[in-house]
């Protein structure tokens, strides 16, 4: 088994109104930051997962996302995975 570090990025689905993103965009403009495009606010969830392989780790985290970590009605997710160095075989 190896230890994998997963980062799940959960973001509002494209087209979904994101009032927090809008407010931050407005604030950035008023602070003088021109040329800022659309701002979207999501969250990052970091997890440690034990799995036999990278594929297995990915499959498990993907299942977690579908079941709990993201709401398919309103949110998209992306998984980033890295393997702990010197993980136990």
């Amino acid at each position: 088994m190896s230890l994998f570090h997963a980062t799940v990025r959960v973001t509002p689905r494209p087209g979904l109104l994101d009032p927090e993103g809008k407010a931050i965009h407005h604030a950035l403009e008023s602070l003088g930051y021109d040329g800022v495009g659309e701002v979207r606010v999501g969250k990052a969830i970091t997890l440690e997962v034990e799995a036999a392989s990278r594929d297995e780790a990915l499959a498990r985290v993907d299942e977690m996302c579908r079941k709990l970590l993201a709401n398919p009605v309103t949110e998209d997710y992306r998984i980033e995975l890295s393997e702990e160095e010197g993980g136990t075989p």
């Binding site: 407010a23 931050i24 008023s30 602070l31």
Partner: protein
């Protein structure tokens, strides 16, 4: 578990602790960094008969801080009346408790979180609410209401807007999540609070009389258990001293300076604690609040006259490698210390497990009167408990009034009695001042109706909640005008008590008792100590006369920024009792044609008013006079009228004066603003007549048929009363006429001004933390 068995030496109270490897040496610098004066350190040496270990020094430092030891305020606090037949628990416990009838007892207390809120407004305010709720449920009472008394610098500063927005959402999010309705409070803005906001939170809880439990470690051999959240490195001694000294860890800078609240855990802890208390498995319980495990364990021992021994390795921690010093002084939130009957530890654990919380046996009650700390059986601290908790040196200082302030108080204000321009315009402007405008923006972020007991919601004179079963209710309010107290601390404190009592009678409650939050600057300065002493004397006089004893509270000193102190702000949290909540009264006028009656007298006073601050940028003059005897008559008169059911509304005249009070009553229902027509015959300067803040006045309304009865009852109670005019439809405008001037404004314009001023200031970019932080002024 028996930590004493592992080391025979430790079993004797005299066992001297050995310094831990890596502890700093105790030098005069280290002592000074811990905030102990040379005299205080001498006293430590006498109590111990030896040099303290580093851990012990930390313990003394925390327990003898102003926050825990009240060293600068204790002699003054003794001047306050604390007893009455209805007082069940006076000062000295987690909260005061009074009898409110029908077998119910009310626990209530106010506490400050000023400094944490100045650093991180959201978490500072949130953890303030968390702490005061724990003080209530550790008495065995279920929290039923919170109030918040908050003060900031003027809102033209981005930093102040950021603090205000953060504090309000911190208070809201925490209370909302735990499910306790917010029923009122106060907010005040003045440059005196720039850089030093005041965040005082008050909570009320209800229990059956027999459910009262105390924070006592009694019963030799009983088990001390740490319950709730784990102990982390948060809030250890705040910023008292450089963090390098805490431990040899290199990564000091990453340590959290801010305590983070977890209202979800608090809710579970609340339910678990009440279940524990009702279960009979425990004999004492206390919040690990300021100074954490140290103060909770030593105070519980001190109150019971017992001793305690704690084993540090048993305390559930959030991070590895924590030293006893850190564990003892951590201020991690949502933790409690309970004293379980010996042999019932598993039952205690089962209750906690049901609520998905931890309980760990960490020590036991001893008979040796010592506060003893062990680490894997090795004694690291051993201090007699009573001298630690009660032996803190106290200081009575010399108080001298500041010449500058006396000069301002005695300033001749005859010039400002001449209005600058149009009175109607001045009035409209005044009603848009953040100190007078509607507070809806604040309390609409607070859940006010959860628990289905709120009878009078925030926005009026006082909040009212119904007691379980039956018709009785309790009312609560917080009050203090810092400007009055700054210009004349004795009269200002009297005014705070008098206003609180007026607010309670306006909703139909009999004023019953007080909790106070004494917010002051640095007491080592003679003019600050003068303010403290005078304020306490004024408070004592008013509380004695009103029969509203002080059952506890909180002292917050050193509220200064760059050497400049806040206004002396002795906040009064007063509670009252209603026999029948269906008689509870609001402050809003009801219908066209209702008569408007003034109880009390108008005087030509303009000193210390919001009008002066706003129009002349001036905080000067004598604050309005307080006639306590007349106030007492007024309270009795209004209460009798409310109980008779002949009033339709009652509202206290406070900041902004008579004109503001009338406007607040006319605009009480934002969906149905009303107009009015009032004629005054007083031949006094209109600025003072309309905007002066003369005390002892209540505006009431009643049906035209009841006018004679209201006037008659006022006469019988020795209260001056006269009909001012009548409520009109909104379209007929808001009209006040007096011999020397008049106000005529459009109701819609007034309503717009009153309701939209604070949203217009706050619903901008200013309250996004990053943006506001960047515009720090």
């Amino acid at each position: 578990m028996s930590p004493t068995k592992t080391d025979q030496d430790a079993a004797t109270p005299e066992a001297a602790p050995r310094p831990r490897p890596g502890d700093p040496e105790i030098t005069p610098e280290v002592v000074a960094d811990h905030g102990l004066s040379p005299d205080e350190y001498e006293r430590v040496l006498r109590i111990l008969g030896r040099t303290p270990t580093f851990t012990e020094l930390g313990i003394f430092s925390a327990m003898w801080s102003e926050h825990c030891g009240y060293k600068n305020s204790k002699p003054l606090l003794r001047l306050l009346p604390t007893e009455a037949p209805w007082v069940i628990q006076g000062p000295g416990e987690n909260a005061g408790v009074i009898d409110v009838g029908d077998g119910h007892a009310l626990a209530f207390k106010i506490e400050s979180h000023n400094h944490p809120s100045a650093v991180e407004p959201y978490q500072g305010a949130a953890t303030g609410v968390g702490g005061i709720l724990r003080d209530i449920f550790t008495m065995g009472a279920r929290p039923v209401a919170v109030l918040d008394s908050i003060r900031f610098g003027d809102l033209d500063s981005g930093r102040n807007r950021y603090l205000f927005a953060g504090v309000v959402s911190g208070i809201g999010d925490y209370g909302n999540c735990v499910g306790i309705p917010n029923i009122g409070g106060e907010v005040f803005f003045d440059r005196a609070y720039d850089g030093n906001p005041l965040v005082n939170a008050m909570a009320l809880g209800i229990m059956k009389r027999e459910e009262l439990i105390k924070g006592e470690a009694s019963g030799i051999g009983n088990t001390l258990m740490a319950v709730g959240a784990r102990t982390g490195r948060d809030g250890i001694h705040g910023a008292t001293f450089a963090s390098e000294e805490l431990s040899e860890d290199a990564d000091e800078s990453s340590r959290p300076q801010v305590q983070v609240g977890d209202p979800f855990t608090e809710k579970l802890l609340l339910e678990a604690s009440l279940e524990l208390i009702r279960s009979g498995h425990i004999v004492g319980i206390q919040d690990m609040g300021a100074a954490g495990l140290t103060s909770s364990a030593s105070e519980m021992a001190g109150r019971a006259g017992s001793g305690v021994v704690l084993e540090m390795s048993k305390v559930p921690v959030r991070e590895p490698g924590m030293t006893p010093y850190e564990i003892l002084l951590s201020e991690s939130q949502e933790r409690m210390l309970v004293v379980a009957l010996r042999g019932r530890e598993d039952e205690v654990r089962r209750i906690l497990e049901k609520w998905e919380l931890e309980a760990e046996a960490v020590g036991e009650v001893t008979d040796d009167g010592h506060f003893r700390i062990e680490e894997n059986g090795r004694v690291v601290a051993n201090i007699p408990a009573l001298p630690l908790t009660d032996g803190c040196p106290t200081y009575e200082r010399e108080g001298v009034e500041s010449d500058e302030i006396r000069g301002l108080r005695e300033q001749n204000l005859s010039e400002v009695l001449e209005p600058r321009g149009d009175l109607s315009a001045a009035f409209l402007d005044l009603m848009g001042s953040p100190n007078l405008a509607s507070r809806r923006w604040i309390y609409e972020q607070y859940d006010t109706t959860v628990r289905t007991s709120t009878v009078v919601r925030p926005g009026g004179d006082a909040g009212v909640i119904r007691l379980p079963h039956g018709k009785r209710g309790v009312a609560a309010t917080t009050d203090c005008n810092g400007r009055y107290c700054w210009l004349d601390p004795r009269e200002g404190a009297k005014a705070a008590v008098a206003e609180a009592a007026r607010n309670l009678v306006c909703v139909g409650a009999l004023p019953t008792a007080i909790t106070n939050n004494l917010n002051f600057g640095n007491p080592l300065k003679p003019h600050i100590y003068f303010q403290m002493r005078e304020a306490v004397l004024g408070m004592a006089e008013a509380c004695s006369l009103f029969e509203t004893p002080v059952t506890g509270g909180n002292v917050s000193l050193f509220n200064e920024t760059d050497g400049k102190a806040i206004y002396p702000t002795p906040v009064i949290g007063m509670v009252g009792v209603l026999d029948d909540v269906e008689r509870a009264l609001g402050h809003g006028f009801r219908d066209e044609g209702d008569a408007i009656i003034l109880l009390g007298e108008n005087r030509e006073e303009i000193g210390a008013s919001e009008y002066l601050y706003r129009n002349h940028d001036l905080v000067a003059g004598a604050p309005p006079l307080v006639d306590l005897v007349a106030e007492r008559r007024l309270q009795h008169g209004v209460l009798a009228m409310v109980q008779k059911g002949i009033l339709l509304s009652a509202h206290d005249c406070a900041e902004g004066g008579l004109a503001a009070a009338l406007a607040e009553s006319a605009l009480a229902d934002p969906e149905r603003p009303l107009g009015l027509r009032v004629e005054l015959h007083d031949r006094i300067a209109p600025v003072a007549l309309f905007f002066g803040e003369t005390q002892g006045r209540i505006v009431v309304s009643c049906a035209p048929d009841d006018v004679d009865e209201v006037l008659g009852m006022a006469r019988n109670h020795g209260v001056p009363a006269r009909v001012l005019g009548a409520v009109r439809a909104a379209e007929q405008g808001f009209r006040l006429d007096a011999p020397l001037g008049s106000i005529r404004v459009d109701t819609a314009a007034l309503s717009e001004r009153y309701f939209n001023s604070i949203p217009a200031i706050m619903d901008t970019d200013g309250d996004l933390p990053d943006a506001a932080g960047a515009s720090h002024e």
